[in-house]
């Protein structure tokens, strides 16, 4: 009996109050040490869904996934972008060292196609990472995707609006992303397996635009200041 209990404890399938246990679930490092520390030292869970909840693009949300994309595309795994709101800009990704041959962009027309596509991608052994901008999803459908991700043991990241933070979701990891004061990205862990949620950390993201970290940015004065807007 105690043996079963021990395995349950070690697999972090049972919550034990404040104890933080390093889970031995399969995971992919995020590439950001500060975030990895908050996520039990491992990173993005494999074979499970992760959610990133954010209000608007352009706060460093892709930069957050860039190390994983680089690693996956170079290890011969395919990275799928499903229904992105804007165009992933090829020259920028090429410059960052993402192997674009392994990146496939998919646009689906209706929700049925979307779920079917995701399930197929998630179950395939060639997939490394699936990034989805799903729009509206019912909890039942997220559960379906969760099962597909488990079957294929792949990383799947859903980008959803921040208002879904209050709603319940079967995803294994939920991160709330918000812009920080110094072009950084503040990450709030809403849910994760094996521990209490509520950790916060701030990741420096100013390098995404080659901005030198500076308190007062040097404003280039010019004729535009009066006319903008």
């Amino acid at each position: 009996m105690s043996e079963i209990l021990n395995t349950l404890m070690q697999d972090a399938r049972v919550w034990q109050g404040h104890q933080h246990i390093r889970t031995n679930q399969p995971a992919e490092p995020t590439g950001y040490q500060a975030l990895d520390n908050q996520l039990g030292g491992v990173g993005w869970p494999r074979g499970a869904l992760s959610e990133c909840l954010l209000d608007a693009p352009g706060i460093g949300e892709l930069q957050l996934l860039l190390p994983l994309m680089q690693r996956m595309s170079h290890s011969g795994k395919t990275v799928f972008w499903v229904n992105p709101p804007h165009t992933p800009y090829a020259p920028a990704f090429a410059r960052e060292g993402v192997n674009l041959d392994q990146v496939i962009l998919i646009n689906t027309e209706d929700e049925g196609d979307l779920l079917w596509t995701l399930e197929n991608c998630l179950r395939s052994p060639v997939t490394g990472l699936v990034m989805v901008w799903p729009g509206k999803l019912a909890a039942r459908e997220i559960r379906r995707l969760q099962l597909a991700a488990e079957a294929g043991s792949n990383v799947c990241v859903l980008f959803r609006e921040r208002r879904y933070a209050e709603q319940n979701s079967p995803a294994a990891l939920r991160l709330e992303l918000a812009p920080g004061d110094h072009q950084d990205l503040s990450v709030n862990v809403l849910k994760r397996r094996g521990s209490w949620p509520g950790q916060c950390c701030s990741l420096a993201m100013h390098h995404r635009a080659d901005l030198a970290f500076q308190e007062a940015p040097r404003v280039v004065q010019g004729p535009w200041s009066g006319r903008a807007g």
Binding site: G58, L62, H86, T87, R95, G97, P179, R208, V219
Partner: protein, 472 residues
Amino acid sequence: MLWLYLHFPHLLLDHIRRSRENPGALAVVEGSGQKVIQACPQARAQGVRAGMRLKTAISLAPELGMVRADHQQEARILEDQARWLYRYAAHIVLVPPDGLLAEVGSLQRLYGGLQAVWQTVEQGLNERQLNAWIGIGHTPLAARLIARTGKGECTADKGHILRALGQMCLLAAEFEDKTRARLQRIGLNTLGEVLALPSNELARRLSPETLAYVQKIQGNRADPKTPWHPPHYFHQQIDFAQEVEQSQGLLFSLQRTLSELEEDLCWRQQDTDSLLLVLQHRHEEPTRLRVRTSGPEHRSETFLNLIRLRLEQQPLRAPVISLVLSVRRFLGREAGAGRDLLGETQDLNEAWHTLISRLQARLGEAALQQLSPQADHRPERAWSASEVLRRPGTRLPDYTQLPRRPLWLLKGPQPLTAAPSRWFSGPERISGGWWDGQRVHRDYYIAQLESGQLAWVFRDVRDGWFVHGWFG
């Protein structure tokens, strides 16, 4: 030389019967639709005979399926059979409308005896659900005559063949009507008696053509035949006796054709990546479906799954009367690379092609895209999207010299509605496009908006401010 002749007594009937789901009585009627020409065993059991008037036949078997005889169609079906026979024999001659001739003397060593050749052919006929009478003779004509009597024997012995020919009556020997009447008037009844006549007498009393015919049967005169060569494409037509309204019905008959394609590809050691499926309707333009796989493929199961997906997406417009499957593009087959000896690890290359083909079949080929940078200064032209074609290699050009760009590019520049809260860098002037009329003259800045988004904004030549990308 030894010849094998295949006589198909009712080829059209077999062709239609084997692609039918429910085996019912079936008959082939004459072009004018008055007479039954061929009847299948079920129809014969109900009393339908060849040569019977159609009305009589229908009253005997009310459920009788009818197919109108069509010579072009028959010729095409015969060619299908020749393509199949070509796997076993190199020298094939088409004998329209219902015969195939193959030189088998040279095959005996390959197959280990004439008996083995015979069995191979017979087995193939059974697999293809075809009825054929086989005959072997030392000349093409002898083989044909023996086959058409339906008493073919597996022997290479010339004496035996001549004896069999000798017992044949004049009608079976296929003399012209006039010649046959004259021979009968002389008092000859079997082919053997004609063969026994001295040749100069035969030429003098009858005609030189008759002599030539007899000599060709005997093998004393050359009877050259031009061999048939298979065309380099796969083409098969399925004709339905009843119109098919459900795609399920199409899939059933496609299954057989696709497995024949698989076998054909297997014999050629080739793969293909595109199939063309043409569905003929009675009153409408034919539907053309191009089914593409993302990589070389030969398995019928994969093709069938892709076609099923396509048909699910695209319901039939009208009932289908016939269906043509053709393949014109062949690729050399390569051995699966990433496979280990015991076949335990999955072949990733294959899995990739399967996944992409499935997605393309359901979503359409344009729904999947691959991105690549292009050499252009204008941001909206510095990238391109292309269809996913094949699994890429891992060779990478060096892109580290490219300028800093945002990870998101907007599908079109959006007007900047409020002044940014902070400006970071700029201006970066991008000017170009005078060479193709798509003129761009902009100053780009990196700025942070009130919402915290880091934007790539520009001011164009008319002083308008736009957001063109997000530093995501």
